[in-house]
Protein backbone atom coordinates (compact mmCIF):
# COMPACT_ATOMS: atom_id res chain seq x y z
CA UNK A 1 0.00 0.00 0.00
CA UNK A 2 1.22 3.46 -0.81
CA UNK A 3 2.09 6.02 1.87
CA UNK A 4 2.07 3.47 4.70
CA UNK A 5 4.12 5.91 6.72
CA UNK A 6 1.14 8.24 7.05
CA UNK A 7 -1.68 7.57 9.54
CA UNK A 8 -4.62 5.50 8.29
CA UNK A 9 -7.57 7.83 8.25
CA UNK A 10 -10.10 5.29 7.08
CA UNK A 11 -9.77 1.63 7.86
CA UNK A 12 -12.28 -1.04 6.92
CA UNK A 13 -11.71 -4.57 8.18
CA UNK A 14 -13.77 -7.53 7.00
CA UNK A 15 -16.80 -5.35 6.47
CA UNK A 16 -20.01 -7.06 5.49
CA UNK A 17 -23.27 -5.36 4.67
CA UNK A 18 -26.60 -6.96 3.90
CA UNK A 19 -29.88 -5.27 2.99
CA UNK A 20 -32.54 -7.63 4.23
CA UNK A 21 -31.29 -10.97 3.00
CA UNK A 22 -29.40 -9.57 0.05
CA UNK A 23 -25.72 -9.40 0.80
CA UNK A 24 -24.19 -6.37 -0.85
CA UNK A 25 -20.71 -6.37 0.64
CA UNK A 26 -18.99 -9.55 1.80
CA UNK A 27 -15.66 -9.04 3.46
CA UNK A 28 -14.12 -5.72 2.44
CA UNK A 29 -10.66 -4.66 3.59
CA UNK A 30 -9.82 -1.10 2.67
CA UNK A 31 -7.40 1.52 3.97
CA UNK A 32 -7.00 5.18 3.12
CA UNK A 33 -4.11 7.24 4.45
CA UNK A 34 -3.93 10.95 5.02
CA UNK A 35 -2.81 12.75 1.91
CA UNK A 36 -4.06 10.02 -0.42
CA UNK A 37 -6.65 10.25 -3.15
CA UNK A 38 -8.26 6.84 -3.48
CA UNK A 39 -10.68 5.66 -6.16
CA UNK A 40 -13.25 2.92 -5.65
CA UNK A 41 -14.31 1.58 -9.01
CA UNK A 42 -16.63 -1.09 -10.21
CA UNK A 43 -19.71 -1.81 -12.26
CA UNK A 44 -23.14 -0.44 -11.44
CA UNK A 45 -24.76 -1.88 -8.35
CA UNK A 46 -21.62 -3.51 -7.01
CA UNK A 47 -21.79 -1.73 -3.67
CA UNK A 48 -19.42 1.22 -4.12
CA UNK A 49 -21.91 3.83 -2.93
CA UNK A 50 -22.77 1.59 0.00
CA UNK A 51 -19.10 1.73 0.97
CA UNK A 52 -19.20 5.51 1.00
CA UNK A 53 -22.31 5.48 3.12
CA UNK A 54 -20.70 3.09 5.57
CA UNK A 55 -17.67 5.33 5.89
CA UNK A 56 -19.86 8.37 6.38
CA UNK A 57 -21.86 6.66 9.07
CA UNK A 58 -25.15 6.75 7.17
CA UNK A 59 -25.29 2.95 7.29
CA UNK A 60 -24.15 0.49 9.93
CA UNK A 61 -22.09 -2.50 8.86
CA UNK A 62 -23.59 -5.93 9.51
CA UNK A 63 -20.16 -7.26 10.47
CA UNK A 64 -16.57 -6.04 10.61
CA UNK A 65 -15.27 -2.62 11.69
CA UNK A 66 -15.34 0.74 9.97
CA UNK A 67 -12.77 3.02 11.55
CA UNK A 68 -12.61 6.70 10.73
CA UNK A 69 -9.88 8.78 12.39
CA UNK A 70 -9.39 6.01 14.88
CA UNK A 71 -13.04 5.83 15.93
CA UNK A 72 -15.41 2.98 15.20
CA UNK A 73 -18.06 4.94 13.35
CA UNK A 74 -20.71 2.25 13.74
CA UNK A 75 -20.61 2.54 17.52
CA UNK A 76 -20.99 6.28 17.88
CA UNK A 77 -24.09 8.01 19.19
CA UNK A 78 -25.65 10.90 17.31
CA UNK A 79 -23.65 13.63 19.03
CA UNK A 80 -20.34 11.87 18.50
CA UNK A 81 -21.26 11.04 14.91
CA UNK A 82 -22.09 14.65 14.20
CA UNK A 83 -18.82 15.75 15.81
CA UNK A 84 -16.94 13.42 13.49
CA UNK A 85 -18.94 14.49 10.47
CA UNK A 86 -17.91 18.07 10.99
CA UNK A 87 -14.46 16.96 9.94
CA UNK A 88 -15.76 15.28 6.80
CA UNK A 89 -16.99 16.71 3.56
CA UNK A 90 -19.18 14.90 1.04
CA UNK A 91 -19.93 15.73 -2.55
CA UNK A 92 -23.20 14.16 -3.69
CA UNK A 93 -23.75 12.98 -7.23
CA UNK A 94 -25.71 15.97 -8.49
CA UNK A 95 -24.47 18.47 -5.98
CA UNK A 96 -27.46 18.41 -3.60
CA UNK A 97 -27.30 22.18 -3.22
CA UNK A 98 -30.03 23.81 -1.17
CA UNK A 99 -32.29 25.19 -3.85
CA UNK A 100 -33.85 27.91 -1.73
CA UNK A 101 -30.49 29.60 -1.00
CA UNK A 102 -27.97 31.39 -3.16
CA UNK A 103 -24.55 29.97 -3.98
CA UNK A 104 -23.01 32.13 -1.28
CA UNK A 105 -25.48 30.94 1.36
CA UNK A 106 -24.97 27.33 0.34
CA UNK A 107 -21.23 27.52 0.91
CA UNK A 108 -21.76 29.56 4.07
CA UNK A 109 -24.22 27.01 5.47
CA UNK A 110 -21.77 24.73 7.29
CA UNK A 111 -19.85 27.75 8.54
CA UNK A 112 -22.97 29.39 9.89
CA UNK A 113 -24.19 26.21 11.53
CA UNK A 114 -20.96 25.12 13.17
CA UNK A 115 -18.68 28.12 13.59
CA UNK A 116 -19.36 31.42 15.28
CA UNK A 117 -17.73 33.88 12.93
CA UNK A 118 -18.11 37.63 12.54
CA UNK A 119 -19.89 38.50 9.30
CA UNK A 120 -16.87 39.98 7.56
CA UNK A 121 -14.76 36.93 8.28
CA UNK A 122 -17.50 34.60 7.13
CA UNK A 123 -17.81 36.51 3.90
CA UNK A 124 -14.09 36.34 3.26
CA UNK A 125 -13.95 32.62 3.96
CA UNK A 126 -16.88 31.82 1.69
CA UNK A 127 -15.49 33.89 -1.15
CA UNK A 128 -12.11 32.21 -0.73
CA UNK A 129 -13.67 28.77 -0.97
CA UNK A 130 -15.54 29.84 -4.08
CA UNK A 131 -12.33 31.28 -5.47
CA UNK A 132 -10.65 27.90 -4.96
CA UNK A 133 -13.22 26.26 -7.23
CA UNK A 134 -13.24 29.17 -9.65
CA UNK A 135 -16.79 30.40 -9.00
CA UNK A 136 -16.30 33.51 -6.89
CA UNK A 137 -18.03 35.55 -9.58
CA UNK A 138 -21.22 33.51 -9.27
CA UNK A 139 -21.73 33.90 -5.54
CA UNK A 140 -25.06 35.67 -5.93
CA UNK A 141 -26.60 33.13 -8.30
CA UNK A 142 -29.29 30.65 -7.30
CA UNK A 143 -28.65 26.91 -7.84
CA UNK A 144 -31.33 26.75 -10.50
CA UNK A 145 -29.26 29.17 -12.59
CA UNK A 146 -26.15 26.97 -12.58
CA UNK A 147 -25.07 24.37 -15.08
CA UNK A 148 -24.37 20.83 -13.88
CA UNK A 149 -20.64 21.33 -13.73
CA UNK A 150 -20.91 24.64 -11.94
CA UNK A 151 -23.36 23.22 -9.40
CA UNK A 152 -20.97 20.43 -8.64
CA UNK A 153 -18.13 22.88 -8.12
CA UNK A 154 -20.23 24.92 -5.71
CA UNK A 155 -21.09 21.72 -3.86
CA UNK A 156 -17.37 21.00 -3.70
CA UNK A 157 -16.72 24.44 -2.22
CA UNK A 158 -19.42 23.69 0.36
CA UNK A 159 -17.88 20.31 1.14
CA UNK A 160 -14.51 21.88 1.96
CA UNK A 161 -15.95 24.85 3.84
CA UNK A 162 -14.84 23.54 7.21
CA UNK A 163 -11.43 22.31 5.94
CA UNK A 164 -12.28 18.64 6.39
CA UNK A 165 -9.76 15.89 6.92
CA UNK A 166 -11.73 13.45 4.75
CA UNK A 167 -13.57 14.29 1.55
CA UNK A 168 -15.84 11.80 -0.16
CA UNK A 169 -17.06 12.01 -3.73
CA UNK A 170 -20.08 10.11 -5.05
CA UNK A 171 -19.65 9.85 -8.84
CA UNK A 172 -18.04 13.27 -9.21
CA UNK A 173 -17.59 12.92 -12.98
CA UNK A 174 -21.04 11.61 -13.88
CA UNK A 175 -22.68 13.52 -16.71
CA UNK A 176 -20.02 16.18 -17.15
CA UNK A 177 -18.60 17.57 -20.38
CA UNK A 178 -14.87 16.95 -21.00
CA UNK A 179 -13.82 20.41 -19.85
CA UNK A 180 -15.76 20.28 -16.59
CA UNK A 181 -14.47 16.75 -16.14
CA UNK A 182 -10.91 17.94 -16.32
CA UNK A 183 -11.64 20.87 -14.01
CA UNK A 184 -13.27 18.72 -11.33
CA UNK A 185 -10.50 16.15 -11.54
CA UNK A 186 -7.84 18.81 -11.07
CA UNK A 187 -9.77 20.38 -8.21
CA UNK A 188 -10.06 17.07 -6.37
CA UNK A 189 -6.32 16.54 -6.54
CA UNK A 190 -5.30 20.10 -5.73
CA UNK A 191 -7.72 20.56 -2.86
CA UNK A 192 -6.69 17.28 -1.33
CA UNK A 193 -3.05 18.28 -1.39
CA UNK A 194 -3.75 21.81 -0.19
CA UNK A 195 -5.81 20.61 2.77
CA UNK A 196 -3.58 17.66 3.58
CA UNK A 197 -6.72 15.57 3.66
CA UNK A 198 -7.69 12.14 2.37
CA UNK A 199 -10.13 11.80 -0.52
CA UNK A 200 -12.24 8.84 -1.53
CA UNK A 201 -13.84 8.83 -4.97
CA UNK A 202 -16.51 6.43 -6.12
CA UNK A 203 -16.51 6.52 -9.87
CA UNK A 204 -16.80 4.75 -13.20
CA UNK A 205 -14.56 7.11 -15.06
CA UNK A 206 -11.35 5.22 -15.62
CA UNK A 207 -9.16 7.61 -17.60
CA UNK A 208 -9.77 10.71 -15.51
CA UNK A 209 -9.43 8.85 -12.19
CA UNK A 210 -6.26 7.01 -13.08
CA UNK A 211 -4.63 10.33 -13.90
CA UNK A 212 -5.21 11.86 -10.47
CA UNK A 213 -5.45 9.14 -7.81
CA UNK A 214 -2.78 7.48 -5.69
CA UNK A 215 -4.51 4.14 -5.23
CA UNK A 216 -7.41 2.22 -6.74
CA UNK A 217 -9.75 -0.43 -5.34
CA UNK A 218 -11.87 -2.51 -7.69
CA UNK A 219 -15.12 -3.83 -6.31
CA UNK A 220 -17.22 -6.52 -7.94
CA UNK A 221 -20.02 -8.62 -6.44
CA UNK A 222 -19.35 -7.24 -2.97
CA UNK A 223 -15.65 -8.02 -2.78
CA UNK A 224 -12.42 -6.29 -3.68
CA UNK A 225 -11.20 -8.03 -6.81
CA UNK A 226 -8.17 -5.86 -7.51
CA UNK A 227 -6.21 -3.01 -5.98
CA UNK A 228 -3.07 -1.07 -6.71
CA UNK A 229 -1.52 2.13 -7.92
CA UNK A 230 -2.68 3.47 -11.31
CA UNK A 231 0.41 2.05 -13.00
CA UNK A 232 -0.14 -1.37 -11.46
CA UNK A 233 -3.77 -1.26 -12.57
CA UNK A 234 -2.94 -0.36 -16.13
CA UNK A 235 -0.44 -3.18 -16.29
CA UNK A 236 -2.73 -5.66 -14.54
CA UNK A 237 -3.30 -9.06 -16.10
CA UNK A 238 -6.47 -9.62 -14.03
CA UNK A 239 -9.46 -10.40 -16.29
CA UNK A 240 -11.88 -8.10 -14.51
CA UNK A 241 -9.49 -5.16 -14.36
CA UNK A 242 -8.63 -5.69 -17.97
CA UNK A 243 -12.25 -5.71 -19.04
CA UNK A 244 -13.00 -2.59 -16.99
CA UNK A 245 -9.99 -0.54 -18.00
CA UNK A 246 -10.35 -1.41 -21.67
CA UNK A 247 -14.12 -1.11 -21.67
CA UNK A 248 -14.71 -4.55 -23.14
CA UNK A 249 -18.37 -5.55 -23.46
CA UNK A 250 -17.88 -9.15 -22.34
CA UNK A 251 -15.59 -10.81 -19.83
CA UNK A 252 -15.86 -11.52 -16.09
CA UNK A 253 -18.80 -9.13 -16.11
CA UNK A 254 -21.02 -10.96 -18.62
CA UNK A 255 -22.88 -9.30 -21.47
CA UNK A 256 -25.95 -11.51 -21.20
CA UNK A 257 -28.11 -11.45 -18.12
CA UNK A 258 -28.84 -14.95 -16.77
CA UNK A 259 -31.66 -16.56 -18.77
CA UNK A 260 -32.79 -19.90 -20.13
CA UNK A 261 -30.99 -21.04 -23.32
CA UNK A 262 -32.37 -19.23 -26.34
CA UNK A 263 -33.31 -22.44 -28.11
CA UNK A 264 -35.68 -23.32 -25.28
CA UNK A 265 -37.39 -19.94 -25.39
CA UNK A 266 -37.88 -19.95 -29.14
CA UNK A 267 -39.21 -23.51 -29.14
CA UNK A 268 -41.67 -22.61 -26.45
CA UNK A 269 -43.09 -19.76 -28.49
CA UNK A 270 -43.41 -21.89 -31.63
CA UNK A 271 -45.36 -24.53 -29.71
CA UNK A 272 -47.95 -21.97 -28.78
Amino acid sequence: MANSGQEALVDLRQVRFAYGDREILSGIDLTVHRGQVVAIMGGSGCGKTTLLRLIGGQLKASAGTVQVAGQDIGGLNTAQLYALRRRMGMLFQFGALFTDMSVFDNVAFPLREHARLPDAMLRDLVLMKLQAVGLRGGHALMPSELSGGMARRVALARAIALDPMLIMYDEPFAGLDPISLGVVGQLIRRLNDALGAASIMVTHDVSESLSIVDYVYFVSDGRIVAKGTPDEIRASKDDFVHQFVNAEPDGPVPFHMKAAPIGEMLMGEVKR
Binding site: Q58, Y82, F92, Q93, A96, F98, F109, E113, H114
Partner: protein
Protein backbone atom coordinates in the same frame (compact mmCIF):
# COMPACT_ATOMS: atom_id res chain seq x y z
CA UNK B 1 -60.37 -7.65 -2.04
CA UNK B 2 -60.81 -8.15 1.67
CA UNK B 3 -57.13 -8.88 2.00
CA UNK B 4 -56.28 -5.63 0.28
CA UNK B 5 -58.57 -3.75 2.63
CA UNK B 6 -56.97 -5.46 5.59
CA UNK B 7 -53.52 -4.64 4.28
CA UNK B 8 -54.54 -1.00 3.90
CA UNK B 9 -55.81 -0.86 7.47
CA UNK B 10 -52.66 -2.46 8.83
CA UNK B 11 -50.56 -0.08 6.78
CA UNK B 12 -52.58 2.80 8.13
CA UNK B 13 -52.09 1.77 11.72
CA UNK B 14 -48.39 1.23 11.12
CA UNK B 15 -48.04 4.68 9.64
CA UNK B 16 -49.94 6.12 12.56
CA UNK B 17 -47.33 4.65 14.89
CA UNK B 18 -44.58 6.04 12.69
CA UNK B 19 -46.18 9.45 12.68
CA UNK B 20 -46.48 9.47 16.47
CA UNK B 21 -42.82 8.65 16.82
CA UNK B 22 -42.09 11.41 14.35
CA UNK B 23 -44.13 13.84 16.43
CA UNK B 24 -42.02 12.92 19.41
CA UNK B 25 -38.84 13.56 17.40
CA UNK B 26 -40.21 16.89 16.18
CA UNK B 27 -40.93 18.03 19.70
CA UNK B 28 -37.58 16.84 20.91
CA UNK B 29 -35.67 18.77 18.27
CA UNK B 30 -37.80 21.88 18.43
CA UNK B 31 -35.30 23.90 20.39
CA UNK B 32 -33.74 25.35 17.26
CA UNK B 33 -37.11 26.47 15.95
CA UNK B 34 -37.44 28.88 18.82
CA UNK B 35 -33.83 29.74 19.52
CA UNK B 36 -33.38 30.71 15.89
CA UNK B 37 -36.76 32.29 15.55
CA UNK B 38 -36.22 33.45 11.99
CA UNK B 39 -36.48 29.84 10.82
CA UNK B 40 -40.00 29.55 12.22
CA UNK B 41 -40.97 33.06 11.17
CA UNK B 42 -40.10 32.18 7.62
CA UNK B 43 -42.39 29.19 7.77
CA UNK B 44 -45.22 31.19 9.35
CA UNK B 45 -44.88 33.47 6.36
CA UNK B 46 -45.01 30.67 3.81
CA UNK B 47 -47.76 28.70 5.51
CA UNK B 48 -49.83 31.43 7.09
CA UNK B 49 -49.40 34.72 5.32
CA UNK B 50 -49.55 33.17 1.87
CA UNK B 51 -52.79 31.40 2.80
CA UNK B 52 -54.45 34.66 3.80
CA UNK B 53 -56.00 35.31 0.45
CA UNK B 54 -57.76 31.99 0.12
CA UNK B 55 -58.86 32.01 3.76
CA UNK B 56 -60.28 35.52 3.72
CA UNK B 57 -62.07 35.09 0.41
CA UNK B 58 -63.45 31.68 1.33
CA UNK B 59 -64.53 32.96 4.72
CA UNK B 60 -66.39 35.80 3.10
CA UNK B 61 -68.17 33.52 0.66
CA UNK B 62 -69.07 30.98 3.32
CA UNK B 63 -70.52 33.79 5.38
CA UNK B 64 -72.48 35.11 2.43
CA UNK B 65 -73.94 31.69 1.68
CA UNK B 66 -74.73 31.05 5.35
CA UNK B 67 -76.49 34.36 5.50
CA UNK B 68 -78.54 33.63 2.41
CA UNK B 69 -79.49 30.09 3.28
CA UNK B 70 -80.00 30.95 6.91
CA UNK B 71 -82.30 33.83 6.15
CA UNK B 72 -84.25 31.78 3.66
CA UNK B 73 -84.99 29.14 6.29
CA UNK B 74 -85.38 31.36 9.35
CA UNK B 75 -87.81 33.78 7.82
CA UNK B 76 -90.23 30.92 7.26
CA UNK B 77 -90.59 30.69 11.03
CA UNK B 78 -90.49 34.42 11.56
CA UNK B 79 -87.12 34.19 13.25
CA UNK B 80 -85.05 36.07 10.72
CA UNK B 81 -83.61 38.15 13.52
CA UNK B 82 -81.78 35.06 14.73
CA UNK B 83 -79.63 35.19 11.59
CA UNK B 84 -76.70 36.59 13.50
CA UNK B 85 -76.90 33.76 15.98
CA UNK B 86 -77.03 31.17 13.22
CA UNK B 87 -74.07 32.58 11.34
CA UNK B 88 -71.92 33.23 14.39
CA UNK B 89 -72.46 29.88 16.06
CA UNK B 90 -72.00 27.88 12.86
CA UNK B 91 -68.76 29.64 12.15
CA UNK B 92 -67.11 29.85 15.54
CA UNK B 93 -68.02 26.35 16.61
CA UNK B 94 -67.61 24.36 13.42
CA UNK B 95 -67.10 25.96 10.04
CA UNK B 96 -64.28 28.25 11.07
CA UNK B 97 -61.88 25.62 12.37
CA UNK B 98 -62.94 22.85 9.99
CA UNK B 99 -63.12 24.67 6.66
CA UNK B 100 -60.07 26.77 7.43
CA UNK B 101 -58.29 23.57 8.38
CA UNK B 102 -59.24 21.87 5.11
CA UNK B 103 -58.15 24.87 3.07
CA UNK B 104 -54.92 25.13 5.02
CA UNK B 105 -54.18 21.46 4.42
CA UNK B 106 -54.76 21.82 0.70
CA UNK B 107 -52.70 24.97 0.27
CA UNK B 108 -50.01 25.04 2.91
CA UNK B 109 -49.88 21.38 3.86
CA UNK B 110 -49.36 20.22 0.31
CA UNK B 111 -46.72 22.90 -0.23
CA UNK B 112 -44.76 21.77 2.81
CA UNK B 113 -44.97 18.12 1.77
CA UNK B 114 -43.82 19.01 -1.72
CA UNK B 115 -40.93 21.09 -0.42
CA UNK B 116 -39.63 18.48 1.97
CA UNK B 117 -40.25 15.67 -0.51
CA UNK B 118 -38.27 17.43 -3.22
CA UNK B 119 -35.47 18.10 -0.77
CA UNK B 120 -35.42 14.37 -0.12
CA UNK B 121 -35.34 13.51 -3.83
CA UNK B 122 -32.44 15.85 -4.53
CA UNK B 123 -30.53 14.46 -1.52
CA UNK B 124 -30.52 17.84 0.21
CA UNK B 125 -31.65 16.22 3.46
CA UNK B 126 -28.86 13.66 3.24
CA UNK B 127 -26.35 16.39 2.48
CA UNK B 128 -27.52 18.29 5.54
CA UNK B 129 -27.19 15.16 7.64
CA UNK B 130 -23.64 14.62 6.36
CA UNK B 131 -22.81 18.20 7.30
CA UNK B 132 -23.73 17.32 10.87
CA UNK B 133 -26.93 19.38 10.82
CA UNK B 134 -30.02 17.54 12.00
CA UNK B 135 -32.57 17.84 9.18
CA UNK B 136 -35.49 17.32 11.54
CA UNK B 137 -34.39 20.26 13.66
CA UNK B 138 -33.52 22.49 10.71
CA UNK B 139 -36.14 21.62 8.10
CA UNK B 140 -39.04 19.71 9.63
CA UNK B 141 -39.59 21.28 13.05
CA UNK B 142 -39.78 24.94 11.90
CA UNK B 143 -42.36 23.98 9.28
CA UNK B 144 -44.34 22.08 11.89
CA UNK B 145 -44.45 25.03 14.30
CA UNK B 146 -45.12 27.44 11.46
CA UNK B 147 -48.28 25.49 10.70
CA UNK B 148 -49.33 25.10 14.33
CA UNK B 149 -49.03 28.85 14.93
CA UNK B 150 -50.71 29.85 11.68
CA UNK B 151 -53.79 27.62 11.95
CA UNK B 152 -55.63 29.27 14.89
CA UNK B 153 -54.97 32.69 13.40
CA UNK B 154 -56.36 31.62 10.05
CA UNK B 155 -59.40 29.98 11.64
CA UNK B 156 -60.19 33.12 13.62
CA UNK B 157 -59.85 35.23 10.50
CA UNK B 158 -62.11 32.83 8.63
CA UNK B 159 -64.81 33.07 11.29
CA UNK B 160 -64.54 36.84 11.46
CA UNK B 161 -64.80 37.22 7.70
CA UNK B 162 -67.71 34.81 7.64
CA UNK B 163 -69.63 36.79 10.22
CA UNK B 164 -68.99 39.94 8.25
CA UNK B 165 -70.21 38.14 5.17
CA UNK B 166 -73.36 37.09 6.96
CA UNK B 167 -73.88 40.65 8.13
CA UNK B 168 -73.30 41.93 4.60
CA UNK B 169 -75.93 39.72 3.07
CA UNK B 170 -78.38 39.79 5.95
CA UNK B 171 -78.32 43.39 7.05
CA UNK B 172 -76.92 45.34 4.15
CA UNK B 173 -78.63 43.50 1.32
CA UNK B 174 -81.69 41.76 2.66
CA UNK B 175 -82.53 44.15 5.44
CA UNK B 176 -82.48 42.19 8.66
CA UNK B 177 -82.33 44.59 11.57
CA UNK B 178 -78.75 45.56 12.34
CA UNK B 179 -79.24 45.89 16.06
CA UNK B 180 -81.08 42.61 16.37
CA UNK B 181 -78.39 40.88 14.33
CA UNK B 182 -75.61 41.83 16.73
CA UNK B 183 -77.47 41.84 20.00
CA UNK B 184 -78.99 38.42 19.57
CA UNK B 185 -75.60 37.16 18.50
CA UNK B 186 -73.93 38.58 21.56
CA UNK B 187 -76.55 37.04 23.78
CA UNK B 188 -76.14 33.61 22.27
CA UNK B 189 -72.41 33.34 21.67
CA UNK B 190 -70.39 32.62 24.78
CA UNK B 191 -66.72 33.47 24.71
CA UNK B 192 -65.65 30.46 26.67
CA UNK B 193 -68.05 27.93 25.35
CA UNK B 194 -68.15 28.76 21.68
CA UNK B 195 -65.20 30.94 20.74
CA UNK B 196 -62.60 29.34 22.96
CA UNK B 197 -63.68 25.87 21.91
CA UNK B 198 -63.34 26.95 18.31
CA UNK B 199 -59.81 28.17 19.01
CA UNK B 200 -58.92 24.91 20.74
CA UNK B 201 -60.25 22.98 17.76
CA UNK B 202 -58.23 25.01 15.31
CA UNK B 203 -55.11 24.46 17.39
CA UNK B 204 -55.65 20.69 17.43
CA UNK B 205 -56.31 20.71 13.67
CA UNK B 206 -53.15 22.74 13.19
CA UNK B 207 -51.07 20.16 15.00
CA UNK B 208 -52.63 17.32 13.02
CA UNK B 209 -52.28 18.94 9.59
CA UNK B 210 -48.73 20.19 10.22
CA UNK B 211 -47.62 16.82 11.52
CA UNK B 212 -49.10 14.99 8.54
CA UNK B 213 -47.63 17.43 6.02
CA UNK B 214 -44.13 17.29 7.48
CA UNK B 215 -44.24 13.55 8.04
CA UNK B 216 -45.43 12.67 4.54
CA UNK B 217 -42.73 14.82 3.01
CA UNK B 218 -40.00 13.38 5.18
CA UNK B 219 -41.14 9.80 4.70
CA UNK B 220 -41.87 9.81 0.99
CA UNK B 221 -40.27 7.56 -1.59
CA UNK B 222 -37.53 9.72 -3.13
CA UNK B 223 -38.83 9.75 -6.68
CA UNK B 224 -41.04 12.16 -8.56
CA UNK B 225 -43.93 9.74 -8.30
CA UNK B 226 -43.28 9.23 -4.62
CA UNK B 227 -43.50 12.94 -3.93
CA UNK B 228 -46.74 13.27 -5.84
CA UNK B 229 -48.26 10.39 -3.92
CA UNK B 230 -47.08 11.90 -0.65
CA UNK B 231 -48.77 15.20 -1.47
CA UNK B 232 -52.01 13.40 -2.25
CA UNK B 233 -51.77 11.53 1.03
CA UNK B 234 -51.20 14.75 2.92
CA UNK B 235 -54.36 16.34 1.61
CA UNK B 236 -56.50 13.24 2.03
CA UNK B 237 -55.18 12.22 5.45
CA UNK B 238 -55.44 15.79 6.72
CA UNK B 239 -59.05 16.03 5.59
CA UNK B 240 -59.96 12.75 7.27
CA UNK B 241 -58.06 13.65 10.41
CA UNK B 242 -59.77 17.04 10.66
CA UNK B 243 -63.22 15.56 10.29
CA UNK B 244 -62.57 12.72 12.71
CA UNK B 245 -61.00 15.01 15.31
CA UNK B 246 -63.85 17.44 14.85
CA UNK B 247 -66.31 14.75 15.80
CA UNK B 248 -64.28 13.73 18.84
CA UNK B 249 -63.77 17.30 20.04
CA UNK B 250 -67.36 18.30 19.40
CA UNK B 251 -68.69 15.40 21.40
CA UNK B 252 -66.42 16.40 24.29
CA UNK B 253 -67.09 20.10 24.14
CA UNK B 254 -70.70 20.44 23.23
CA UNK B 255 -72.45 17.79 25.22
CA UNK B 256 -75.99 19.00 25.85
Amino acid sequence: MIRKLGAMVIDGVWRLGFASRFLFLLLRYSGQSFLRLHLTLREIYFSGVLSLLIILVSGLFVGLVLGLQGYETLQRYGSSEALGVLVALSLTRELGPVVAGLLFASRAGSAVTAEIGLMKVTEQLKAMDMMAVNPIARVAAPRFWGGVISMPILAALFSAMGILGGWLIGVAFIGVDDGAFWSQMQAAVDIRYDILNGVIKSFVFGVAVSLIAVFEGYDCVPTAEGVSRAITRTVVSSALAILALDFVLTSFMFRG
